[in-house]
Amino acid sequence: MNIFSIVFRSLRQHALSTAVTAASVALAGGLLLTVWVVKTQSQASFTGVNAGFDAVLGARGSKLQLVLNSVFHLEASPGNVARQDFLDIQNNPDVEFAVPLAVGDNFHGWRIVGTTPDLFQKSAYAPGKKFELRPGGNWFDPARRAAVVGSFVAEKMKLKVGDKFHPFHGLVFDEQKQHAETYIVVGVLKPSNTPADRVIWIPLEGVQRMSGHNPDADTEVSAVLVKLKAGNPLAGFQLDTFYNKQGNRLTFAWPIGRVIAELFDKIVWFDRVLTLVAWLVALVATSSILASIYNSMNERRRELAILRALGARRAIVFAVIVIEAATISAVGVIVGFGFYAGLILIVTQIIRSQTGVVLEPSAFNPVMLWEPAAFVLLGALAGIVPAIKAYRTDVAQNLTSQT
């Protein structure tokens, strides 16, 4: 019978307190894993989303608002861009192609975005990945009142090819603001796991000329997505200088990923608070190991004295307690992965429904290696205090009273 058998039997004997303590470690471990994975994955996912473009041209204002509005389909548009500005950048020799966007309507809260077929046919939303339609669908004809629906909207609103709907004015749903125009669904996008899944796409002119919209602005666009030519590495710098430093009417948000990264830099304190909370929970959980084992030491003195009487050295009873604490932690960590799986599933769904960005909880993250190691180490450290008590157990006194 080796030291691990002794530990196992001791844990079995104190099964209830072992289970309760391991459960608290599991909760802490699951929480820490979730916070860490969501933090790193969301940062990587959000900064990686660019809809296949390098930059966004929009009205003068915040770059972040411009990117959130035109790439993530969140926030309000900072203003409009004149048609001539769109044509200018489209014809710029450093620009491979430019796709205009027009926003301002919704369908039961789901954003309707006007664009041109170039968005689907020329751009790749990720390297080697172009938007695709589900079987039976078609891209819209820019001359018709037709819509291509993102996969997530189609799922939530139960929209399919052939369905008709009326857009509502504004970005926030108000049933009093229904437009008279009727649109027909001609296609449903296959899931792209990008914000495009949460959008109903219609022809650019559809938004521009929707009844009730300002007729003076019917040639303006909300933003222009810009794909730069690969040949000129300085193109982005030159356009950035041209629009942002020399001009004062428009904003050129480039590169898109850096704009989002700056957002994460601004909210880094929030990350730190979340991480701190998770570590505090971990500390409380490992402290519970200490308290649980320490409190059981009084009733276990006799057991430890028996082990010593049978020839176990002080170092062995010390090790038994430390390994016991580390084992409780290890069991908690394993169960914690199950807790993490449940929690990350919920968080992933929430992020997907709010932003269209899909996290990959099963993807490897270094935290999955160092978190278990850190918890087992913390558990072992928590075991040291009761282990010292075990080490000092007076064998003769605890075996029987002196005669």
Partner: protein, 232 residues
């Protein structure tokens, strides 16, 4: 250091004192001369509080003497460090307690295996055979709480013999048993020690137990600390 033809256990000028709660030192053991030959069986007679358990703990190496010499099988136990005494105990001593001292979370077999784990190493076959020998072949996987007191004492006997000890120390081994179980347990301990060529040193205050031994010694006379205490 090992001498040939010497007794298994030889004690000379052994002293042990403890601090009382009032801060004064009390000598508990003061044995000038004691010896036991290999395979012998000796009962020490003494009332509660006479220092019998302390004497056995000193022989087992659980306690370190303040003064004196304990020589076991030629080796000077009284000079050993604590880890050396632990190793010595694990390999040479079997201990039977009045309160059995079985680990409640372990089965009978596991308790016996534990008795050999720190010494020669766990041997499931031997542990099983010892339990069969003490009549518990059908209780190998029972917990102590599922056994009668008599059965628990038999597990303790099997455990004491598990490390193939040269000396078995038995501290009031029948103190918690009724007459019938007491007689049976004592017979078993003595037989098992003989079968395993282990010497037996038993302490008891029970005249019936002492009466079954050919060799008995009065611990009051052996331990001068008791006489000194009485004189003061």
């Amino acid at each position: 250091m090992k001498e040939t033809n010497s007794p298994l256990l030889q004690i000379r000028g052994l002293q042990k004192s403890f601090v009382a709660p009032d801060g004064t030192w009390h000598r508990i053991v003061d044995v000038s001369e004691f010896s036991l030959t290999a395979g012998a069986q000796l009962a020490l007679a003494g009332e509660s509080g006479s220092g019998k358990t302390t004497f056995l703990n000193l022989i087992a190496g659980i306690l370190k003497p303040d003064a004196g010499m304990i020589r076991f099988n030629g080796a000077l136990l009284s000079e050993f460090s604590e880890p050396q005494r632990d190793r010595f105990r694990a390999h040479n001593i079997g201990y039977i307690f009045q309160t059995f001292n079985l680990l409640q979370g372990f089965t009978c077999l596991e308790n016996v295996l534990l008795g050999m784990s720190f010494g020669p190493g766990a041997d499931r076959v031997l542990a099983g055979n010892l339990l069969i020998r003490v009549g518990l072949g059908d209780r190998l996987h029972h917990r102590p709480s599922q056994l009668s007191t008599g059965q628990q004492q038999r597990v303790a006997v099997a455990r004491a013999l598990a490390n193939r000890p040269k000396l078995v120390l038995a501290d009031e081994p029948t103190g918690n048993l009724d007459c019938e179980n007491s007689r049976a347990a004592l017979g078993l301990i003595r037989e098992a020690c003989r079968e395993n060529a282990a010497a037996l040193l038993l302490v008891s205050h029970d005249a019936e137990v002492l009466g079954q031994f050919e060799n008995t010694q009065d611990f009051h006379k052996l331990n001068q600390a008791v006489a000194a205490e009485a004189a003061t």
